[in-house]
């Protein structure tokens, strides 16, 4: 019990140092003996490309870091979240595919927050916009990989849609909408985006 408390306190104090390989040593050691990080073992972040080399009998599979070109200076470099750095807090929508495509994987899923560096609300808002863009069909190349040998069935004619809050399969039809004063309204858009900058006088209409 005491050893566990000591372990946890030491872990929190050393959490800023990214110690990947030495984490496994914690459980085995009684006295915490953190090995000093030398310059050779500094972890680097970056997108790596898998390169395979065949030399006679040996096959070397290497992950080479792809050089990312330097990005231009953001207008507000002091902030933590990339969206706050570029002052785009309330200015993006599901149609800004160029912005949203920077935060998605090649099969359409979102990148984790600890990698992109987004704050919680912006990550949620971007996830919602990415969902709406997928349902609107604005990201046709970011589809999940089908397993090999998969024969696609005859596709049904796709219906065009936009600003869909709920998933297509989960929504039930409103058979009894009710009278005008107690009507079951259909949801359009998402309440997380209600603070977006509006250049028109009309308010954002989310209950149709």
């Amino acid at each position: 019990m005491a050893a566990r408390c000591m372990l946890r306190s030491v872990w929190t104090s050393f959490s800023s140092l990214t110690l990947g390989p030495s984490a496994s040593n914690f459980c085995s050691l009684q006295r915490i003996n953190v090995p000093q990080l030398s310059a050779l073992t500094i972890q680097s972040r970056g997108i790596r490309q898998v390169v395979e080399k065949r030399e006679g009998n040996t096959i070397t599979i290497e992950g080479k870091t792809v050089e990312t070109p330097a990005a231009p200076e953001p207008p507000n470099p002091a902030a933590k979240c990339p969206i706050y750095r570029w002052n785009l807090q309330h200015k993006y929508n599901y149609t800004d595919v160029l912005l949203l495509s920077q935060f998605i994987r090649s099969d359409g899923g979102m990148l984790p927050r600890r990698i992109t560096g987004l704050c919680a609300e912006e990550h949620r808002k971007i996830a919602i916009c990415v969902q709406m863009a997928h349902r609107a069909g604005l990201l046709p190349d970011h589809r999940p990989k089908l397993p090999e040998g998969h024969v696609p069935k005859t596709p049904k004619p796709k219906l065009n849609r936009y600003l869909t809050r709920w998933s297509v399969k989960s929504v039930k039809p409103i058979y009894k909408p009710g009278l005008k004063w107690c009507k079951k309204r259909m949801d359009v858009g998402h309440p997380a985006l209600k603070d977006n900058v509006r250049y028109s006088v009309k308010p954002l209409y989310m209950k149709h």
């Binding site: 990005a71 231009p72 953001p74 990339p82 065009n160 600003l163 809050r165 929504v171 039809p173």
Partner: protein, 164 residues
């Protein structure tokens, strides 16, 4: 000059990726003749409207699944309720037609105005209607561009927000 003001013009609207409600409101204004300063309910001043590409209509939100079109055949047990998706599959013209029908004034002129409305699910138009068209109306909603429609220069010009 008065022949030009009292002439009946033919408008064409492209409904691709547009909400059917906005299309229907534009149609109803022009079918009644309310876009003309010489409008009067009794004077027959409505124009013809041709709607194209209604099979590519786009609903906002989850209305394809949630919106229900109900009707009764008159016989007992004949209450039919169809979702917008099913109705569109059966008849792609019906959604726009019903929307315009509901937006016109509820009087006997409505039937004649509906006869002046021409809906086509795709681009193919008969020759006589194509010869009559005078004006194309602008689309109410800006169609958002897909990712593959952006040129590579535009994608490169957009700054990267975070470094991996």
């Amino acid at each position: 000059y008065q022949w030009a003001t009292f002439a009946r013009s033919w408008f064409v609207i492209d409904a691709r990726m547009q909400p059917p409600g906005k299309i229907a409101s534009m149609c109803s204004i022009r079918l009644q003749g309310k876009h003309k300063p010489i409008y009067h309910a009794l004077s027959d001043c409505g124009d013809h409207v041709v709607v194209i590409n209604t099979k590519e209509i786009a609903f906002s939100g989850n209305k394809w699944e949630q919106k229900v079109y109900s009707s009764h055949t008159g016989y007992p047990g004949g209450f039919k309720q169809v979702t917008a998706a099913q109705l569109h599959h059966k008849d792609p013209k019906a959604i726009v037609r019903l929307a315009v029908y509901g937006m016109l004034p509820k009087n006997l002129h409505r039937r004649t105005m509906m006869q002046r409305l021409h809906i086509f699910p795709d681009d193919v138009l008969p020759e006589d209607i194509r010869a009559n068209l005078t004006e194309e109306l602008p689309q109410p909603r800006e169609i958002p561009r897909k990712l593959n429609e952006y040129t590579q220069e535009e994608i490169d010009a957009f700054p990267r927000l975070w470094t991996p």
